[in-house]
């Protein structure tokens, strides 16, 4: 009887230990994921140009530079930086060329406005032709 009781006690201790280990591991994962997610890293690296590769993003490239950049972004996210802060600091260091999605600035104004302008001109021509026929 005593032996049975001891055995069940041993089992209980083992069970508690297993639960404790599982909780610790999960808590650790939770702590990491709460600061930033892998998806966030991917979103940033997908919008960054690999400066030494031919038409590849940092996310796609396995070059030395791209690997360093991925580590750099992870460390910046761990430090609590936002996506915008990371992009703006990299643009300051490397110029607008580093981002695939350049924001609206004095240099990119024509780039952003030209398609809209052409669309409006094209639309105006079409509308004019239709109304003339009517």
């Amino acid at each position: 009887m005593t032996r049975m009781f001891l055995k069940s006690k041993k089992l209980l201790i083992i069970k508690i230990l297993i639960i404790f280990v599982l909780i610790t591991i999960n808590f650790k994962n939770f702590a990491i994921s709460s600061t930033y997610s892998e998806e966030q890293t991917i979103n940033i690296t997908k919008n960054l140009r690999c400066l030494i590769c031919q038409g590849q993003t940092i996310h796609e490239s396995n070059s030395d530079f791209a690997e360093s950049m991925k580590k750099y972004i992870k460390s910046e996210l761990e430090d609590g930086k936002t996506n915008e802060e990371i992009f703006s600091s990299l643009v300051k260091k490397y110029g607008q060329w580093i981002v695939y999605d350049p924001g609206i600035s004095r240099n990119t104004l024509l780039l952003w406005s030209l398609p809209l302008l052409l669309f409006l001109i094209g639309g105006a021509i079409i509308v004019k032709k239709i109304f003339r026929k009517i």
């Binding site: 400066l51 030494i52 030395d64 530079f65 690997e67 360093s68 950049m69 580590k71 750099y72 460390s75 600091s89 300051k92 260091k93 490397y94 110029g95 060329w97 580093i98």
Partner: protein, 180 residues
Amino acid sequence: MQFLEKTKKSIFSLFILILLILSFFVFKFALDKEKVYSPKITDEQIFTDFEVEDLIDGRKINFSKVLFGKNFYLINIWSSWCEPCKDESDKLLELKKETSIMMVGINYKDKKKNALNFLKLYGDPFDQIFIDKQGTISINFGAYGVPETFLINDHNKVLKKYIGPLNDEDVFEIKKITNN
């Protein structure tokens, strides 16, 4: 009425012609442009602070504390496995003689033993050397390879950036800036 129609047509063909000429020049300049991208120095490029580790004694220090006491700082990113770094070692040794410059080395993705052997073999031009095992310290400077050299003033502003090994002209330019 016919005159109006004719004028409209000629304005339209003139517009198309201007568009074609414009596209020609856009393509011409775009194709003539240097394909190898090199980041430009902007006025805004001032380093944010970060921690660095000394190659020799392993002590950790904030980089802002390194840039102290001199008028100019020459930061050179190098590695023992980098062939062009060997070519520029004599240029760096020459610049070491300039008293207004502090020479700071960033040892990029290297092994300590190999780095020390390199310095023994080609000479040590640096006042301080820090390690960049992951390549992330170099990104703080806006670098993307080895060798790269940055001339910084005492306000932490990047004055010049040299991609690739330094040559005689670069040394002349650095001396000219730092002696003024």
